[in-house]
């Protein structure tokens, strides 16, 4: 497996495409995400998402990023300025993604670097948030996504970065939708007990949008998959 093969590099402009696609996806589903948090949480997640995207716009305006790392930095700083549990956790998660650009210079990171960064981000979120898989959090879509991504890349040297990201996206969406079957054990939703049953965890849905946006940033479509959230 050689990440420098064309099929395994991420395209130039990946940072920009990834971040802007995610921006669209989150803005477009903020109402739905807020509703989910209202049904099984404290209802502030929609506001938190909107605030993060407002900060992102301000950062993009102020900093005019060009490299992958700068785009992701604008994103992580945006989230760190948000309240709730999701603000600091997404912030630190995207900070780890940003670090993947450290050696890349003006280029995008390799898919391997990006995969390692996702795994590092997951570890950071778990270090701070202490959530395990099944606790009905963003980890429930992130963990299967990282596993699927690694598996796809390792299973077959011919698998392209885009193909691997499609696999990750599928796993993330499946993980997120499966949270409807579980009861929250972390975050504000854990206070509502059984009442969270039947409701998709909004943080896991947002995390699935992240993976979806990475795929859409890589395949050039620039559109994430948001229709499954409700």
């Amino acid at each position: 497996m050689n990440d420098q093969t064309p099929s395994r590099t991420l395209p130039a402009g990946f940072g920009r495409a990834f971040v802007l696609t995610l921006r669209e996806a989150l803005v477009g589903s903020a109402d739905e995400l807020g509703d989910l948090d209202r049904r099984a949480g404290d209802g502030d997640f929609g506001t938190n998402v909107r605030t993060a995207m407002k900060h992102l716009d301000r950062n993009l305006e102020a900093d005019e990023p060009s490299r992958y790392r700068e785009w992701l930095t604008a994103l992580y700083m945006a989230w760190l300025g948000v309240g709730g549990t999701s603000g600091p956790l997404f912030g630190m998660f995207f900070r780890d993604l940003a670090k993947a650009g450290e050696e890349a210079g003006t280029a995008a990171p390799t898919i391997a670097q990006f995969t390692d960064a996702l795994a590092a981000g997951q570890a950071t979120v778990q270090r701070y948030g202490e959530a395990k898989v099944g606790d009905k959090t963003m980890i429930d879509s992130l963990d299967p996504a990282v596993t699927a991504l690694r598996a796809a890349l390792e299973a077959d040297a011919e698998t392209t970065a885009v193909e691997a990201l499609f696999a990750a996206e599928d796993a993330a969406v499946a993980g997120a939708t499966a949270t409807a079957q579980t009861i929250a054990r972390r975050g504000r939703a854990s206070y509502v007990g059984d009442a969270s049953q039947g409701v998709i965890d909004p943080g896991s849905a947002a995390m699935a949008l992240v993976i979806s946006s990475a795929r859409a940033g890589a395949d050039g479509s620039g559109v994430a998959n948001i229709g499954w959230i409700a």
Partner: protein, 332 residues
């Protein structure tokens, strides 16, 4: 029904910080974007001290910025942690090259955002130490997995002692050790006769029956150990004192620092009655109140209630407590 003196409730915290700083132009300065209050004249060559948390607990924290206490305070919305970005800005503002001690009340959000800010400020080669304040005895479940005890009025003690040590030139590790020692020895019990009302809301956070007292209430209106029958000032004082004495294992001859704290809607006559009662009860037990503070220092909006904080006091702590301090809410 309570009506608040407020403009747009959204602007409450930044406007209040602005008012505070305008009222103390020689002492304080405002970094409005991040809701950060700093000393007007930043200290040089000392360990920096930053604290903060949700608003609604005034004068905590910005009221304790000044010489001999905090370098910087950062304010979240009412009862909500400041964001990691705010804490990061505050931590950077507190740094004078010798590292920063972050004094954090033990609530999930605050701890998370301060830890993150500490980690990120490492990018700028700022060394940080967190001192966690977790004095609220009512939340002492002994459960190692749980969130632990909440942080309440002992914050004032930790901020004062660390502030004095930092001012005297102590190192980052020394200041943090002094703070941790104080936090580990101080315990608080609180009660409420009525809850506070959020600015903009009409109704208080919870309702009590005419004969009920919420014992072990938190400073955000969290529930405590349960409800007990109402009684007179001496009786209420005993309710708070008994579990503290037991936990701290106070004995004849011991010396303590005591804070009799109003939760916001308690008037001075009431606080002085509790102070009197505390003095009598402890004197009967042969325990001397060597130092004390009586007032509304760590509040919960206009909650009508009191807390008592006790900390066994040693000579070093007495010296640090007595060291000069000059802040809006504490000066000597």
């Amino acid at each position: 029904m309570r009506r608040s003196i407020v403009n747009d409730p959204e602007d409450l915290v930044p406007e209040a910080l602005e008012g505070l700083v305008l009222s103390h132009p020689l002492l304080l300065a405002l970094e409005a974007e991040h809701r950060v209050v700093t000393r007007r004249h930043r200290a040089t060559d000392k360990v920096g001290l930053v604290s903060g948390g949700g608003s609604g607990h005034e004068p905590l924290h910005a009221g304790f910025v000044g010489t001999g206490m905090l370098d910087v305070a950062v304010a979240g919305a009412v009862f909500a942690s400041p964001t990691a970005l705010q804490v990061l800005a505050a931590t950077k503002a507190a740094d004078a090259g010798r590292g920063v001690v972050q004094i954090v009340k033990n609530y999930t959000g605050d701890v998370l955002n301060f830890r993150i800010a500490g980690e990120i400020s490492g990018d700028d080669a700022i060394e940080t130490e967190i001192v966690l304040v977790d004095d609220d005895l009512a939340t002492d479940t002994g459960d190692a997995d749980g969130p632990g005890r909440r942080g309440t009025a002992a914050t004032v003690i930790v901020e004062k002692l660390c502030g004095a040590a930092a001012e005297a030139g102590a190192s980052l590790a020394e200041v943090a050790a002094i703070g941790r020692r104080a936090a580990s020895r101080a315990r608080t019990m609180s009660l409420a006769l009525s809850a506070g009302t959020h600015p903009g809301d009409a109704e208080p956070q919870f309702a009590l029956g005419d004969d009920e007292v919420e014992l072990g209430v938190g400073i955000h209106g969290e529930r405590g150990r349960g409800r007990v029958p109402f009684r007179d000032a001496d009786g209420l004082t005993e309710l708070l004192l008994e579990p503290l004495r037991e936990e701290l294992e106070l004995h004849r001859g011991d010396q303590v620092l005591a804070i009799v704290n109003g939760l916001g809607g308690t008037y001075p006559l009431e606080l002085n009655l509790v102070a009197r009662s505390l003095h009598h009860h402890l004197a009967d037990a042969g325990v001397a109140i060597e130092r004390s503070l009586v007032g509304s220092y760590v509040t919960s909006l206009d909650m009508h209630g009191i807390s008592i904080t006790l900390m066994p006091l040693d000579d070093e702590q007495s010296r640090l407590w007595d060291a000069p301090v000059r802040t809006p809410a504490l000066t000597w």
